[in-house]
């Protein structure tokens, strides 16, 4: 099974499709991208994730050719593409606003790029029909962009940017304009199309759920730098910094001081008069170093009595309950005022809920549940 897993980034022989080599981009005095190096491989679905202004859009515009790096180089299939103008690159982009040409029909929008290549008429028609089929737009071919719905427009934009069979497809917040339900359906459709066409996709998004769902690897960015590049599960389970842990999903952060107690085992003193917490970490943390312990709320168990075999257990009282339907998040206040979130699945009806406000409870988690992050 393991040999089938798509992971070219772990293969030292694999040749990346795109290489950012020490790329810096400045706009006047503002540094949008700061000495960034990154490899993206063929057939990857790569997500650039970060808050607005982190530089993810600049990365994408440099790939499309609308911006050139101030320093460093970008290579596509080993060739430096900095001097290549956007219309000569084997890269296409799907714009956030879709940028459909309002004066052209859906059919002509999709054919637009192919016409620029002077493709023979029969080939062109076949290619457009293929794209219409792929995006299930056959019956809308003759309509103008304002005559179709938002979801259909999104698919036209995708078909148009895929029509030229680019080596690389860039997607700038492709689902941002759709409502939540439609967005979820479209995410799977995108993945499906990516798999069918075998095109390398780079998606820019600020929606972490979207990035986690669609991407083979996610790059978390902040202030023009890559914070972590890894598969969605590694980003979630093994964040390498407080920033990444906090940006992806919900997390409890406990500050403390680490002491090694054995091979990869540490004891964390975090508050006066409280028992130390236990965590494992393969990262080298020196004795007495201040550190952060990151624990996902769903890995914290909430119970009325202290679980007998719990490695980490602390007592508190329920401060607040966020009922989300399928889940409930308990905000538990500890003796020193710290709030720890614990999440449970609501497998029983709400009237049978075990805890309510002000109830004294025990929180517990295993030694491997938390991630130890050195400062």
């Amino acid at each position: 099974m393991n040999s089938d897993v798509f992971a070219p980034w772990e293969d030292p022989q694999a040749k990346p499709l795109i290489q950012f080599q020490n790329v810096t981009k400045r706009f006047g005095g503002f540094t949008a991208i700061d000495n960034l190096s990154l490899d993206i491989f063929e057939r990857e679905f790569f997500a650039l994730l970060g808050p607005s202004g982190c530089g993810k859009t600049t990365m994408m515009r440099m790939l499309a050719g609308f911006e050139t790096p101030t320093e460093g180089h970008i290579l596509l299939s080993g060739q430096d593409i900095d001097p290549v103008p956007p219309n000569k690159r084997a890269v296409n982009m799907m714009f956030q606003s879709y940028a459909l040409f309002p004066h052209l029909s859906v059919w002509d929008n999709i054919a637009f790029g192919l016409r620029r290549d002077n493709m023979p008429k029969t080939d062109l028609e076949a290619r457009v029909e293929e794209m219409l089929r792929l995006t299930r737009l056959e019956q809308f071919a003759r309509r103008k962009p304002h005559q179709i719905s938002g979801g259909q427009r999104q698919r036209v934009a995708l078909a148009r940017s895929l029509a030229k069979a680019p080596k690389l497809l860039l997607l700038d917040e492709p689902l941002g304009a759709l409502d939540k339900k439609l967005r979820q359906d479209t995410q799977f459709e995108l993945m499906d199309i990516q798999e069918k066409t075998g095109t390398t996709f780079v998606i820019v998004t600020h929606d972490q759920e979207e990035a986690m769902t669609v991407a083979s690897r996610v790059a978390v960015m902040d202030q023009g730098q890559l914070k972590q590049v890894a598969t969605p599960d590694r980003i979630y389970e093994n964040p390498n910094s407080v920033y990444v842990a906090d940006f992806i999903g919900d997390v409890n952060i406990i500050e403390g001081r680490a002491t090694a107690t054995g091979d990869e085992a540490f004891q964390i003193d975090w508050a006066e008069g409280q028992a130390p917490l236990t965590a494992t970490s393969s990262a080298g943390v020196s004795n007495g170093q201040s550190c952060h312990l990151a624990i996902r709320p769903e890995k914290v168990t909430i119970s009325a009595e202290r679980p007998a075999d719990a490695i980490n257990a602390i007592q508190g009282k329920v401060h607040d309950i966020a009922y989300l339907g399928n889940l409930s998040t308990y905000y538990v206040e500890l003796a020193n005022g710290t709030i720890i979130k614990a999440q449970t699945a609501n497998t029983r009806r709400i009237s049978r809920r075990s805890f309510t406000w002000e109830d004294p409870v025990w929180l517990s988690w295993t030694a491997t549940a938390a991630v130890l992050l050195a400062n």
Binding site: N87, A99, F101, H146, I148
Partner: protein, 272 residues
Amino acid sequence: MSRLSWFNTVSLTLGFAFLYIPMIILIIFSFNESKLVTVWAGFSTKWYGELVQNEAFLKAAWVTLRVAVLSSTLATVLGTAAAYVLVRGGRFFGRTLFSGMIYAPLVMPEVITGLSLLLLFIGIGLDRGILTIVLAHTTFSMCFVSVVVSSRLVTFDQSLEEAALDLGCSSAQAFRLVTLPIIAPAVISGWLLAFTLSLDDLVIASFTSGPSATTLPIKIFSAVRLGVSPEINALSTIMIAVVTVGVITASLVTKRAMVRQRQDEMAAARAE
């Protein structure tokens, strides 16, 4: 439909009377039998017949039409190019100065524009005729075109042009295949504006026209100085009719397109 209060009815009547009574009088008297303009002597269309016989008027009308078409076309090309550079060119050196300068002729007294053009044409030894009027009209109407087109370009989604580049267009192709078709309504209304301005210009034309070429407004003005004739009324009525038909057609076309677009969008939203 709500009924207007008596106060609003009176205001509306007064306002429109103020605007249109002079023109209505002119139209009525163009059908006057009598040669005396102010004395009604029965209905007749004979002045229209005489107008068709009047070669001087016809010649002037032909000159005016040619000047208007040529100058508005030239002004549209130049004005659109200027607007494009000013809106899209980024912050190049002197941009603010140029934007200011392109609007200055809008407020410049026509007498001064006319005079300066006259001096220029004499200076470079250009004989005054159709060419000089065309040049003069282009000069003052291109800034109107530029204003109309640039206000459209400001709201133009730049990613449309980027999409065109991304799909393999050169900059020139992107402009021709994407930008121009989309801003076409603004370019056309700029052209129409330049055309009307050229049609009714008297001041600048009288500075820059020569004995070989006289435009209709100059002809009418000089004819009126010898006394108003019913023929002039007839001519003016024709001009009013042409303009009215043009304006109504243009607004109907725009309105229909807007209504259809809104219906389509609503239908698309419902289908979602």
